[in-house]
Symmetry: C2
Subunit: 207 residues, 2 copies
DNA sequence: ATTGTAGGTGTACGGCGTACACTTGTCAAG
DNA sequence: CTTGACAAGTGTACGCCGTACACCTACAAT
């Protein structure tokens, strides 16, 4: 049932995942679902656990930096397979045991790398949601290559938001015709992640 | 009406802000609201704009680092006054013009500080949601000082999540009886912000 | 005096989560 | 073989939600 819910959310989007739709998808009456979950929130928790379960375990024998990096990038891959997941995670206040276990091993990687308890605490706060592979973008640059829409956006944004426009048109790294090729989310994610990891490294007491 | 909606969300929480409740609060019939907003989403957009409007303009004459820092901390203060706002912002995909204007001046601060267009782009992605003053915590350490609940948590978490427990009990910076005083969110926010700003500074070409 | 318009009203629809009482299929203990 | 517990599915109903649509009202500009 959790698998079905995940598949349904993958296919039709989280906003159209209702208990009724899921039940229909399973060929069952809505109330039947409540024999397996107490309520919709518990269903969502279970779905998150499925996604988190897809994250690779930490690689053994690597340094903390590489181990953390690889694990986070694996989390990101899982999240890209289930685009609804980050939004659902954001909306939760208390982590499930599965998420807690993920956090626990991530903390363990830092501790093993020589970070004190307190420093690890700060560092975990600093990576924030990125630890689970998503970066909480406030806006969506990477979209619409449609040149007509792009031109309209330039006309609209240009006068009032010149700085936003500059970034939007330069967007990626190449030259842009009207609007760049959008921005490379993966590049941006790794850029930020590496900046953070480098920053963390500098906080480590020299051994 | 936007003010009333903001006040209502402040008081009763965003989850209980419905068009019907807001209408009742205004002494008006639900459908009357639709003469002022096209739909609920537009209402939420307007509410966000109110919050973003509370953010102080950038201070003049400061270096980029201090200007960015102060502005972001001002944004954070606005968000702390309206705890629902971050959640609503997260759930939006397209920024309103007001948010875009905020971004635009923030980008301007970096540009004036000597950041290239591309570097500014990366840097904006890296601060991510923090630019608006919230940090997207996946879990809520700073809660429940109730020692009974705390003890129960220790009993439950201890065996399975020793690393999480270590951080939770050390929590802040002082010695902890059973569970620390919770963590100082403001400290964590500034810690992360400063780590990022320092990281950005290092990316700047030496002048 | 007319009329356009901004704003408020009333009714109604389809969707949602889920409480509660019920049936059914399965299978181990007597 | 019977029985009865229990897990799983059913059907009905309630209260809430956002909002479409037709209507009304008061007032400002012509």
């Amino acid at each position: 049932m959790l698998r079905a819910a995940v598949a349904l959310a993958d296919k039709t989007g989280i906003e159209s995942l209702s208990m009724r739709r899921l039940a229909e998808d399973l060929g069952v009456v809505p109330m039947a679902l409540y024999k397996h979950v107490a309520n919709k929130e518990e269903l969502l928790d279970g779905m998150i656990d499925v996604v988190v379960g897809e994250i690779d375990p930490p690689v053994a024998g690597a340094g903390w930096k590489s181990a953390v990096r690889q694990r986070i990038l694996s989390a990101r891959r899982a999240l890209l397979r289930h685009p609804w997941a980050s939004q659902v995670m954001e909306s939760k206040q208390n982590p499930t045991p599965v998420v807690l276990a993920y956090m626990d091993t991530m903390i363990g990687l830092f501790r093993a790398g020589g970070f004190s308890v307190n420093l690890t605490h700060h560092v975990m706060h600093t990576i924030g949601s990125r630890v689970l592979g998503f970066s909480q973008e406030l806006f969506n640059d990477s979209s619409t290559v449609d040149p007509e829409v792009a031109a309209a956006m330039v006309r609209e944004l240009g006068p009032k938001f010149p700085n936003v426009l500059a970034i939007a048109t330069a967007a990626s790294h190449e030259e842009a015709s009207v609007v760049g090729p959008g921005c490379d989310d993966q590049y941006e994610f790794e850029f930020a992640l590496d900046l953070l990891l480098d920053g963390f490294e500098r906080l480590l007491p020299r051994a």
